[in-house]
Symmetry: C2
Subunit: 238 residues, 2 copies
Amino acid sequence: MAVTDDPTPGDPAGQRRSRRERPAKSPLSTEAIVDAALAILKSEGLQAVTMRRVATALDTGAASLYVYVANREALLAEMLDRVTAIVELEPPDPARWREQMHALLGRMRESFLAYPGTAALALADPPVTGSVLIAAENLLGILSAGGFTPRDAAWTCDILVLVVQAVASEDDARRASGGKHFSDGVDELRATFDALPPDRFPMLRSHAEEMLSGDRDERFHFAIDVVLDGVLARAARA
Amino acid sequence: MAVTDDPTPGDPAGQRRSRRERPAKSPLSTEAIVDAALAILKSEGLQAVTMRRVATALDTGAASLYVYVANREALLAEMLDRVTAIVELEPPDPARWREQMHALLGRMRESFLAYPGTAALALADPPVTGSVLIAAENLLGILSAGGFTPRDAAWTCDILVLVVQAVASEDDARRASGGKHFSDGVDELRATFDALPPDRFPMLRSHAEEMLSGDRDERFHFAIDVVLDGVLARAARA
DNA sequence: GTACGGTACGAACACTGTACGTTACGTACG
DNA sequence: CGTACGTAACGTACAGTGTTCGTACCGTAC
């Protein structure tokens, strides 16, 4: 396209405003971009992670990012990879396999929680990057150490990852909406249940207390144990 | 607007140029908006559901929608409610409770799958609308019929809904990305596993076949049975 | 010293969700 | 019968979004 040499009237002649005087602005890189994006994600949420916002944080323009990142989706994928890469692994120990499972999955959940929105992101398009494979390898190792058959281990691994992501996703949804009250919104839910017509919602009425009981951590680890015990029970029966 | 002057023949004179001559352009309503949005979602995906696109489908402007819908988020929530409202329920029958569970959860999954993106949406901000409460009531009823204690029923209900949403979410991710090949992308995954260095990924190498075995339906129902059996096993042990 | 390959950059495009002020309509009232 | 009014629909506008393009610059290889 033609230059359209915009003759800005007030521009002083010879004004060579090369931004070269900037001290030592470190050069761009995929790593730096992902770092900046993760920082923004952590402090302002997923919807604040825009190309322009990330570029501004790096003191550059949005267009510059596209040299290192194909597009926003690719950036998000790269962020996701980094998030799963930071979870510390558990060298499988047959004597402690269940404990290790809880520890590893718990750290996965925390990692997702530290960067809100990433859990939903992982569910939306399941990534198969290096760090995900490493995590899967570790999960399979622990399950194998626990005596799971290959098929049971593989399928259980799948289910557990799903549970972690789903729980984490719900977690930061609850945190985002219930941020005003420290009580998550349990009170609102209780009020909702109490307002239901008893004839049409007898179960919800009688189960209201149990629907709200237990904190998120307790229910998370309960879910893991349920899955593990379920697979073991089915294996024992066969 | 106000153009498209098309005086209907039988109309008496004095037909002022207005959009009134439109045959029977049904007036806007929340229902009509949600219908149009769902139709677009079904045929073009979630990212095609923009206010302008929905408005165009209704032969109006985007601004007109805001009389009936607070904003896009509210529209999506309303769509989600409708999607969960269409799943047919199962009057609890103690003799068939497990079968009923599979049927009901299966229909939930299908419903999510029919409108791609809604599963992820439900996970991202768990709705507590009328139809969701009705579904929960039914789930609790079936679990109660199966002999679950109130606490077990409540917590299991939670886990199962999570699993359904997570599976459905993964389902339509896989469908969206693997659309080109009818094989989902199993072949790509197998190739990925085969390319891994055996010394660092012994588990993934030896479990590759099992990671890919079984179709989505089989694994979905396996997951449900695992959860149910897990809770039962824990209840029996206590 | 000069040519070159790749990086940074500003501007522009085609969109998005949403707010605003103004029209047109059906209806209730004088 | 005429008129005022509340509300629904509308066009327009604004501030952003992701992404592309052409260009200006840098350090390096000749």
